[in-house]
Symmetry: C2
Subunit: 347 residues, 2 copies
Amino acid sequence: MPDHSQKQDVTIYDIAEALGVSPSTVSRSLKEHPSISKETIRKVRKQAKKMGYRSNIFAQNLRRQKTNIIGVIVPRLNSHFMSSAISGMEKVANKNHYKIIISQSHEQAVNEASNVEMMLEQRVDGLIVSLAYNTMDLHHFDAITEQHTPLIFFDRVADLPNSTNVVIDNYQAAYKMTNHLIDEGCSRIVHITGNTSRNVYSGRLKGYKEALLEHQLSYDSDLVFINDLREEDGEQVARKILEMDQLPDAVFASNDVCAVSCMALLQEHGIEIPRDIAIAGFNNDPISRFVKPKITTVDYDGERVGEVVAQNLINHLEGDDHISITNTIVLNSDLIIRDSSRKQDAG
Amino acid sequence: MPDHSQKQDVTIYDIAEALGVSPSTVSRSLKEHPSISKETIRKVRKQAKKMGYRSNIFAQNLRRQKTNIIGVIVPRLNSHFMSSAISGMEKVANKNHYKIIISQSHEQAVNEASNVEMMLEQRVDGLIVSLAYNTMDLHHFDAITEQHTPLIFFDRVADLPNSTNVVIDNYQAAYKMTNHLIDEGCSRIVHITGNTSRNVYSGRLKGYKEALLEHQLSYDSDLVFINDLREEDGEQVARKILEMDQLPDAVFASNDVCAVSCMALLQEHGIEIPRDIAIAGFNNDPISRFVKPKITTVDYDGERVGEVVAQNLINHLEGDDHISITNTIVLNSDLIIRDSSRKQDAG
DNA sequence: TTGTATGCGTTATCAA
DNA sequence: TTGATAACGCATACAA
């Protein structure tokens, strides 16, 4: 057993003894309680520094029943959107003296549930969640809401009372994107998206359908692909496209990675973008700018989402806010038209 | 003030009372202490579940002086390498019932120091760090080592006694890459890298130099660019390249984002890759595969790095390991030769 | 302005 | 096999 035991910590008792005062005086001095004289405060602080005192946070937590820790559960960490979102949360949390504990569900409801349990055990002050791909039943959040632990969902949100959702208008974004493609003369538009039990994907699918209908274009379910939106999924759709009797004239994917991998495979088979097929993605992942042609996408600023989510939660925790009864915050998201569209004016 | 107060928690006293046994019996039953009868254990567990008991972790921590929390400090979260590394750490931590608390230094030593202080306050069981760009003085880690809190650096590591480093052989990787470019007939090779106070960048620069020297190629400092390796830095180098009297025949950048942005701007100015200039990056960021041509790079698997780092730390914490006196773990990293090199055989 | 005493929920030691 | 009791370090109600 390695020896990392001797964290012989200095306590307020040690300081009290050294100074010949009581522990409570030390405790109060350390947080500049108004009833303590300036002189005492000065002395205590000096002694504390001298002895290398560091407040024991467990004892504090135990007394105050508060941790200043925010729990974050996400499907996975290593996508551009998610890591940016986490970055934004960390920034805001740090500024407000909160810490964040992170866990991944790896897109599995069962992991999500055990992560929630872990967060509960940690007694997080609040919880931020983006749902796993296959989460249907939401009962694993019951204990959270029962204890009135503030709960905020973002991106992939839930329909749960007493929780807040931070989203963009996925319907509108997809509606605008599809309209844009139609305006460019596309009429056979492939849509690649994820599990439509998730708000983000159902919203986008709906926007896509609506735009078609408004232009008297028939909705063809053979042109809609539901998958996990990973690199290989984009490629697989590309292969299916190449086998179609009649080629589509556009592909609109629900994320950029999928759009880009689909495009790459199409290009390898001699399809010219955007002449033969126009391409559109979602998220404004850096990758969307680096491919050729640059792909049209929807600006979805993870960093900002993360900031808003964290700030909202902290406001709530600090009491600057009311109890939310299923409150929803909708952030902006704009089309970014690029070379993979047939015209390049602003949308 | 919103009402998230009534976390009227069930304690072992409540269970004890309900069952007519002592709190110690409950405590022991809950952790299946060998001296407690099966029957009692069964009863206690049942009652605990019935009453919705959840152990208070502060009290536990307070008693045991242990948190099962690992602190992680990184320059920034939202790069592919870093978010993958964190993902790997989270995976291993989760499996071993550890939690991770994350903070960003935003590449500033001053933030790094305050993050360390925060981790100390949280009483993390161990600390994982990748250094900020401009960290020179390492005294902000003194308190960590003094308490014998295990400390592991990865990627951007330090030369500190009683800490472990997890790295790849940056010298070798850059040496091989430069050799590869030379083998392809390149002789004026631009190298873009970061602050050479950081091991990763000094190692790579050294490998680059060494390869040149071994081939009787003179080292030209005008071909070496030290910057922050961001998207805009790659573009700026591209502009400088375009102004050169004699064009280089290769660019070797210390990360893929920088390599790719440099390449894109060169291409916009009619340079053909790899005919006019070959391109090489570092990290095997997905972006390196999606650009055209795909760029040659160094495989640097963040997920694996994260796993190794976390596993090593946990082994140490669990006592399966000795106290490390400046131990170094070197992970594998291989060249990935792609279209942006002039030949495409394996390196 | 400061001190005393108690409790936060657990675990570990000792005794029964 | 179980129980009583004393910590762990801090914060606060009450007393002085």
